[in-house]
Symmetry: C2
Subunit: 463 residues, 2 copies
């Protein structure tokens, strides 16, 4: 007996529903695609760590047979946030040195605390605390610069988080490697070990032009280029840095780096508070992005950038928290969006500058561009990595609901994040972390706190 | 049989424990008294709405027999926060007009939205939403300026919150009263009705010098003085206001008010962004306080004050959220503390300016002084009104715990507030509001949102 195609059609149509690992629906999906598409009553289907489709909920639910469904009619669904610059393990040094002069901050607190405490175990515990806080606050990708970066990579991957991890190369003895040469050799092993990992992008992180000599900067760039890895570096954070560069090299820090051929490959420039118009023009032609850290730049009194010049340039600009040890003191991208937008308005004297949607783009797709990852993350589009979050709009501070971007930037909080999906995997479900044990992480933090405090006590009171 | 005093002694000693309504213990009590006393493992005893004592937990528990005990070993206990300037019912206009030019903000959004929507029912629903958000975020006293202030008083008192409520007097037809004369008459009835209330301090609120003429300003002051009530007014919010005042009166707004004898009685000056050195000297001799609203001043691009000059003066300076309709958009004093501290640092180029403890004083005892209420609230001291909060330090963003002031200003959030006591009464217990029904409040907000949106739609799309 032959079965006609016609008679089979209903069965095929039913079984033609494609399998999916996960479907998440929400009251509103902010895709952050180029057109700024917002889907009312929408859903996202995920398979194999990638986004299969995003569209009206009814259509997605008809098209996909999901192993797991999550419905959040009272929530916004948006791409996971991108924290483009931090030093994750410094979470354990949170609050040890606030409201102190800049020189004392580094020399009396941060450097001694790091010299006396930072080892691989410290870095692992600090990474766990940082990743826990970041995930609970909706961050799905972070870009780091610290020591023992291989340990940070292992802890981050174990927690299921995405990161661009830059092993520090610096011109003085660091907690992990005593010379730039040793650091460069270790960084090569790090790049080899982690290339092609779906979550971890290994990177090279020469600290800054004032702590790393020209030969080391060039070697770091060359090493990164051999592995197609990004370089992550602090640039033009303070006015002093610019003035010193002009004296020493006759150029701004960015122009000096360019003169070394530094921007031939992918570069993540943290801060750039004191970027000149010429610096911005120079970067427009390069595979480079800026990461703005408004909390750090204000708390450390580093300065406020010329937002109008930044926004007029074609350089992608993301947002970062910087480290939490005096320069912030948390990993909260909701606060960075809000602060950047307010600083932009008050310093330009114009409340229309850096509107909410633009600030949210900086925290998502622009941040992805700044890391060179816009083809993989930063928006809700088919084929991209499934990194997204839901944000509850049920709190009194979110009511009544008008514009979703205004809500995200000016009134919703990190604490409103409800679910987090990274690489298609739920890492936070209804505010509960699924990949880290908060009680253990907090116990480790308390133990570290006692050690750090003792290590900073005056010599006479140390025992 | 005679019973000797000796044999009775143990019974007497036991019953000698004084009765208390409530004892709350916490890991650390920040009293915010003049000496900055911090009590480790402390407790506060409350009776009849007043603080009986604060001290070591063991001692307080021995001395007082409490009807109710709350133990928060992982929390900080501090005075309730003082929101020194807001327009509570504008909660229902939250987010209707962000990122728009200042003129359009007022004329195209706020004024039409108020003209078409603000009536007594709107004000009641808006007050409930605002009070709910404020209490959940640790605010125990707020100073308001709006319309239908008697309705705001009733709703605030019903929710068990403390407030200084200023009935607006303004030189054009307002949603409640059509002339300043009508407003002044109504304000007198309001002052009479609420004088001597334990929670509500009625006040007179002439809007600003640019919306209220000299005769009305003088009449408002005289009315307030007859009842010993404070006056609440916007002063020197924008550069334009200062320039216009110099043109019209040959004086700054504060000097102009002084020339009218305005500062003879208690005055709450909201904003004062553009205060001159002479303005500050003038206020030092008066029963006046400034309320700084950093979110509003940045978001509306009004300006950033000269913090060093402010901090060098003897004028008490508190913090306020301003209204949430475009100028903020929430009632979050944790964010105001953090923002003020960061703005002070970056604009003075010195990270030691406005340290965390000082910022927390602005949110508590200094805010109380700015309202003229420092004898009643703002610190944990025997005899004061029992207005205090506990703040959990169990979240990852609060770990590890170093300095408590740094934690409060730079990393803890409004969402970390766990319990709220006002006038000795628990209004929030373990994050649950006890005096308001959140589901009802949010339903009302959603209904108001629909009405407001329809009222602002272009005429052709209105029906």
């Amino acid at each position: 007996m032959r079965i006609s195609w016609i008679s089979l059609f209903p069965i095929l149509a039913l079984s033609a529903a494609e399998p999916a690992d996960l479907v998440v629906s929400a009251g509103k999906i902010l895709t952050m695609d180029a057109a700024g598409t917002v889907i009312e009553d929408g859903a996202v289907a995920v398979r194999g760590g990638r986004i299969l489709a995003a569209g009206p909920r009814a259509e997605i639910e008809r098209r996909y047979r999901a192993r797991r469904r999550i419905a959040r009619p009272d929530a916004l669904l948006a791409p996971g946030l991108v924290n483009g610059h931090t030093h994750a393990p410094m979470s354990l040094l949170r609050g040890i040195a606030d409201d102190v002069p800049l020189q004392a901050w580094l020399e009396r607190y941060i450097f001694p605390a790091e010299a006396r405490n930072v080892d691989e175990a410290f870095v692992r515990a600090g990474t766990r605390l940082a990743v826990l806080e970041m995930m609970l606050g909706g961050i799905t990708t972070y870009a780091d610069m610290y020591y023992f970066e291989h340990a940070i990579a292992e802890e981050t991957k174990r927690a299921g988080m995405r990161a661009v991890l830059g092993q520090t190369v610096i011109g003085f003895p660091a907690p992990d490697y005593k010379t730039p040469q040793q650091a460069l050799e270790a960084t090569e092993r790090f790049l080899l070990a982690w290339r092609n990992d779906p979550l971890i992008t290994p990177a090279v992180a020469p600290h800054a032009i004032y702590t790393t000599d020209a030969a080391t900067l060039k070697a770091a760039r060359a090493l990164a280029d051999r592995y197609g890895a990004p370089v992550h570096i602090h640039v033009s954070e303070t006015r002093q840095e610019n003035e010193d560069s002009l004296k020493a090299h006759g150029r701004t820090p960015a122009a000096y780096l360019d003169s070394l051929g530094f921007f031939a490959g992918r570069t993540i420039l943290a801060h750039m508070v004191w970027a000149t118009a010429a610096d911005l023009r120079l970067l427009e032609g390069r595979p480079a992005g800026i990461v703005h850290c408004p909390s750090s730049n204000t708390k450390l009194a580093s300065g406020i950038p010329d937002y109008r010049a930044w926004l007029a340039s074609r350089v992608p600009i993301g947002l970062g928290t910087d480290g939490p040890a005096g320069s912030n003191n948390d990993f909260n991208l909701f606060e960075e969006m809000d602060l950047a937008s307010k600083l932009a308005k008050v310093t330009s004297g114009d409340p229309t500058v850096l509107p909410a949607e633009k600030a949210f783009r900086m925290a998502t797709i622009e941040g992805a561009k700044a890391l060179g990852m816009e083809k993989e993350i930063g928006s809700i589009e088919p084929g991209k990595r499934a990194d997204f979050i839901t944000i509850s709009t049920a709190a009194p501070h979110a009511a009544p609901a008008h514009d979703p971007y205004s809500m995200l930037v000016y009134s919703l909080k990190a604490g409103d994040v409800r679910d987090v999906v990274i690489e298609g995997r739920l890492t936070v479900l209804d505010r509960r972390p699924l990949t880290l044990d908060p009680a253990r992480v907090l116990r480790e933090a308390a133990a570290a706190r006692a050690r750090v405090a003792a290590s900073l006590a005056p010599a006479g009171r140390r025992n």
